[in-house]
Subunit: 366 residues, 2 copies
DNA sequence: CTGTTAGCGCATTCAG
DNA sequence: CTGAATGCGCTAACAG
């Protein structure tokens, strides 16, 4: 019923090995022979059996891209960019040739799913795995991840981090592209401080994620440097002082969280003059909440985001945010996964975050 | 080096066949034996060899989800929803068990890539394929798709369309979930007409896509019903009359296209009082263009979108649009792909599109 | 440059 | 309920 390599060989009057060689193209074959084989392939409408070939070769052409939330363009952009470097034609060849099958796996932010996908990919003997976005900092999970990744790497799977800091133990086996979340958070806070803001609310992401922590740390660094980390009246000023904690609300990275956290913030501290959101999506929710409270942006209150997603420039007023080169980073991760590009020195590269000052931030009223 | 089923068998003191049976769980095995095997699996940290098992069983646990543009939440939401029904744990089992590997493939809207991904998936003997979003209407491509899908179906791959109309030839082998784009487009135009708009610009998507055509057809249906399809002064009134063509600009489904097309529309017909965009992303660009021309929304000009993506409600003013139940549709497609749900009668279900009237549309000035 | 020979690791018959 | 034997379709040495 189903046509095999042997059938093609018979029709082309060559040995199966030869057919395999022209198909994989990694071995010299006479042009005329190749022609004949290719014709037979077309005539018979032959499609390679992936599992069989992976079994024999002990490696597959699958590349996995893990994302936390594919409905979020933050991940969509990176994943799409990575795929441009990995899968599909672009190699120019019309026929499906030496392409890898780049494949996106949506973990939904769940550590267990992340591990499960890794196992599934390991089962498939994936050629490479790209992990995008912040990691969960639970020690048990980190250990499990580290063990799993080591095993994958040992089996020949290339591992690339994109927008995620390297593992604490620093496996030498991965190439990591890390965003400068801390620096971005710091510069954004500095911008607000320089405008004259003194009471700044912060809508943070889930506490256990590296992205959340780094952005928040950068934010507080700037506050501390400006002497704004102590509550008015007290002077302890330790990092994470009570007042700063009161000005910070954690929640998921979504619009709704931004909305609710902002209401909460406004309730807790009606004197805030600016709100920094964990990312642009959250910032959108924050803007809605601010407006629903009858306040104007930026006259009554400034709002800022992080990531500079495409819609941020279209917000009204346009959102001040920190731009992350998501597409470029994703593409580079894809190239690293393909071995088209050498890993950065030390295995880790930090990707700059650029402050984008737009209409949603201004000097505080009064 | 790498541990195989035989190793597990040896350690559990059973035959390889028995190990295979407990792993696949589709055959009676004594509880005590199962215990022993499972322990051996854990002890040895055994991971099934996917290719080997797929080769032997002539089917794999891969499910492909094809999308046109994964950076667009329209697709991200559907794909993510489908994955919740297919991959990862949720089956409750902690260990990676009977899960399928749900995998998203980004075609970038290119017909060739679509075909290539299908071939790649065919190679892998995918268990199912979900195709999302509008199709390209080029006859040659449609024929190629039809042929390819038939072959996949013959090989036992389940085919599901999600947000895409069934193929013209109507292969009985696919289940299709089609959005009511035409009805949505019609109701949106009716809404504007009832507000009093007579000159309505339309920023359409790429002309060759079904989604574009259906939305536009619905739009024009409503115009025609209201007697608005003829140019002022002439009376031929045939469908697609010159005037309507002048009020329509095609472009890709992105923000920039919305921006530029709107400028063009405003130049061609300064008297338009409303602009309908092909989707919400395009509408955002349209809003920006309108504002950059110094006009207010909706006082000077109304703007509407399509899809009701999460950010649309946060636009200022909130965007009038047509809501598509993307998550629900994606989840249902996932279930169909898994065979968890029966296909709709006739193989095709039409999914309703709901008009969402918000602040970006109002009666025209004057 | 091309053919021959062996498995790759597992799911299945079929016996027991 | 369990074990032994067979082959899935292909690639990778190794010869020629």
């Amino acid at each position: 019923m189903t046509v095999t390599l042997a059938d093609v060989a018979a029709r082309a009057r060559v040995s199966p090995a030869t057919v395999s060689r022209v198909l994989n193209g990694n071995y010299p074959v006479a042009a005329s022979t190749r022609e004949r084989v290719l014709r037979a392939v077309d005539d018979l409408d032959y499609v390679l059996n992936g599992p069989a070939s992976s079994l024999a070769a002990a490696t597959s052409d699958l590349v996995g891209i893990l994302v936390n939330d594919i409905a979020d363009p933050f991940f969509g952009i990176m994943a799409g960019a990575a795929q441009t470097q990995i899968g599909g034609p672009g190699d120019g060849s019309g026929r499906a040739g030496g392409e890898k099958l780049a494949v996106i796996c949506n973990t939904g932010g769940s550590p267990e799913r992340e591990l499960t996908y890794l196992t599934l990919l390991q089962r498939q003997r994936a050629a490479a795995v790209v992990l995008t976005g912040g990691a969960v900092e639970d020690p048990a999970h980190q250990a499990a991840m580290s063990a799993k990744l080591t095993k994958l790497a040992d089996a020949g799977t290339r591992i690339v981090f994109c927008g995620r800091p390297p593992l604490p133990e620093g496996d030498a086996l991965v190439a990591a592209l890390a965003f400068d979340n801390r620096g971005g958070g710091r510069r954004l806070a500095e911008h607000l401080i320089s405008l004259g803001h003194r009471r700044i609310g912060y809508v943070a992401g889930p506490p256990e994620r590296t992205t959340t922590r780094h952005r928040l740390e950068g934010h507080r660094e700037a506050l501390r440097a400006a002497g704004l980390d102590a509550a008015p009246g007290e002077a302890d000023g330790g990092p994470g002082s009570d007042d700063q904690d009161r000005l910070t609300v954690h929640g998921p990275y979504d619009r709704r969280s931004g909305y609710e956290a902002t209401l909460e913030l406004l309730r807790r501290a009606p004197d805030v003059t600016a709100i920094v959101a964990a990312n642009d999506t959250v910032a959108l929710g924050a803007c809605a909440a601010v407006r629903d409270q009858g306040m104007r942006i930026p006259q009554d209150i400034s709002v800022a985001g992080f990531d500079d997603l495409p819609f941020s420039v279209d917000a009204v007023p346009a959102l001040t945010t920190v731009r992350l080169p998501l597409f470029e980073a994703g593409a580079r991760a894809g190239r690293l996964a393909m071995g088209k590009e050498n890993p950065p020195p030390g295995g880790i590269a930090t990707i700059a975050a650029e402050l984008m000052i737009r209409g949603s931030t201004a000097a505080p009223r009064g």
